[in-house]
Symmetry: C2
Subunit: 233 residues, 2 copies
Amino acid sequence: MRDLYITVDQPELKDAGDLINQYCRTHVITMFAYCKIDYVGRAASLANYADRLILIKPDGTLIIHERDKREPINWQPPGTIINAVVDEDELIIKGIRKAPYELLTIRIPLVYTMTIMKVGTGDFKLWGSESELVERVIKNPNLIEEGFTPLEREYETPYGKIDLLGKDSSGRYVVLEFKRGQAQLQAVSQLKRYVDYMREKIGTDVRGCIVAPGITNNAYKLLKKHGFSYIKI
Amino acid sequence: MRDLYITVDQPELKDAGDLINQYCRTHVITMFAYCKIDYVGRAASLANYADRLILIKPDGTLIIHERDKREPINWQPPGTIINAVVDEDELIIKGIRKAPYELLTIRIPLVYTMTIMKVGTGDFKLWGSESELVERVIKNPNLIEEGFTPLEREYETPYGKIDLLGKDSSGRYVVLEFKRGQAQLQAVSQLKRYVDYMREKIGTDVRGCIVAPGITNNAYKLLKKHGFSYIKI
């Protein structure tokens, strides 16, 4: 088991940098360090010196967490080119992206501890997802209403894919937008774009419907204003 | 410096659980472990046994990362009640939320290594943010067009706050929606909701305008369809 991971307490900056360069493309690296973060790209930001957690993944993901919150204070997505150098009295980790150009620079005068380990991926199954909700409706169309007939899943439009397109008992097209959580304003606007597109394309009236376990008050008001319906599932 | 953090290699399951219960409300905890994850809440998911990184924050954030991607495979937001127990041959970490009810269960037959440390928060400054773009326009309204007059920032509507409301040289109201990155379809629909609301409220025509460094093709087409304009900044 020893070979699986490396833990290094209070490494010299140079050793820490060498370990990053050696392992960052194969292992997950966590580092607790005192650091400052500069970011230049679509915006610019500066996070002053503090103790933080740095996380590097072999796909080029770079994440820096502070004490609170689910969201990291800074991050770069997969595909970022990561490298470490020691410059004067600081270890400098750079995360570079080309298009759009972004540069994240972490300056580290002090590394507390770092761990390097091969992390895996496991089978992942999800139930109650949007996709699973759509399947449930296809198997039992009466969940929508009597006489509803599903026609096509993932129907392509310039504005994205319609979750499910169907027809009601009177032959009118129905655009169904599924949400696995509470439907928000965004979901209603998305549905509006699909319905407008289908109305233009087909030249007849088209109904719009949100299928979700819940909906916010504002989203419901907007839904009614557009003449759409909501089905709780 | 020693007191600042604790690193434990291959802890007994009971010791690992005790450390979590003792430190999870004050320290950031990272743990590399072989684990399985059950989630029940707005959906249900199961991630089979694999080596993963578990991250616990003192505000109740619980994050589990696999090898790839910026997004964790499972997570619970701040405010989650976290506790650890040993049941038969597994360490079980539970993350519980009450409203809506959610339960994340991590089953761990083997802990490789864990680190416990007080992590901080540092001063954070952001430039080129939406807010900073709005300020730039207020100081220099001609960036929008000759004769443009800013009236009110963060103007409240039932659909959210309008970034900036102003008037053009002919006295017509202009709703400005700012994006610091490429404007997407969502931004156009958001703007549409604001403009529709203002038209109804004021009873006269209102212009809509996206201010951003870029815009996607589809968003631009929808923008033109609504008769809105785009200003590159």
